[in-house]
Symmetry: C2
Subunit: 147 residues, 2 copies
DNA sequence: ATTTAATTTTGTATTAATTTCAATTTTATT
DNA sequence: AATAAAATTGAAATTAATACAAAATTAAAT
């Protein structure tokens, strides 16, 4: 894992979001900031269990729940069994490749929800989820066909 | 339930989608066409169990799985435990009210995914999911505050 | 510093939607 | 009617997520 953030930075990040910085919370935050792969709770757990041998899954869930409430992460519901978590809370879309399973970010205009039919509706959250085959996997398929 | 479709129409609808029209499939299709509430598998099961007392949940899941494969329905993943199913396969967005739980449709331009970052990507499906408070629930809240 | 209170973390048990799969039933074919 | 193919059932398994009480840690108060 890349070590891009100091403990002080991580603590401050949490404090700014009104979260008391415990060891677990700092580690989960560090993982999310350094691994922008839209991980599942289990991804995070598996990665941290080496560092914190006493870590429980419940703690990971608790932490993510708190992070969501405080606006640190967003949950992604991508037609999979497991939820994924995204530390990038800026407005953007997600593309999940049906072959490799990777999730890509892409920019979207917020204007798309400025429609007559939603006047009077209070909008809290917008998810743009696209499913298909990513560029890499598509090129692999093309190469095979050409041989 | 509104009776808007004849058996012949339902059978033809399935046949056109390359699905052999069994009783269960006709009933599930009829329910989906007449109840455009984005139902869960359980909603469908609970509604049909009166008509077909021997119906099993597995059959509902099997039918929905087949319908998805054949492009009759789309599954909605709205950050709930259960998946919902939508017989309207035209491009549109979904708004789920966090208070009443209702899911509303709204129009979206397909252009939103015409971005540079997705060039070379094969797009199979697009979900636009919006979360918040619907007009009705919002007006109720406003009225309470005014009293 | 020690006691007390508050918070966080853990671990086990539970929940519930979905899946698996073999057995049964129904439908279609010869 | 017999046989083959397809659809349906029901029970068991799976598994992500939740609930919650006990344990551990941290913070506050004396």
């Amino acid at each position: 894992m890349k070590m891009t953030y100091t403990i002080v930075e991580l603590r401050d990040y949490l404090k700014r979001h009104d979260i008391k910085p415990s060891t677990i919370r700092i580690k989960v935050l560090e993982y999310l900031l350094n691994n922008r792969i839209h991980p599942t709770a289990d991804d995070i757990y598996q990665s941290l269990i080496n560092d914190i041998p006493t870590l429980s899954k419940t703690s990971v869930y608790n932490t993510l729940e708190l992070f969501m409430k405080k606006g640190v992460v967003n949950a992604l519901s991508l037609k999979e069994k497991e939820l994924r978590y995204d530390i990038n809370t800026y407005f953007h879309g997600h593309f999940r490749c049906e072959i490799c399973g990777n999730v890509y970010d892409f920019p979207v205009s917020e204007k798309i929800i400025a429609v007559e039919e939603l006047k009077g509706f209070v909008i809290r959250n917008v998810d743009i989820n696209v499913y298909g085959i990513c560029k890499k996997c598509n090129e692999k398929i093309k190469n095979k066909e050409e041989k």
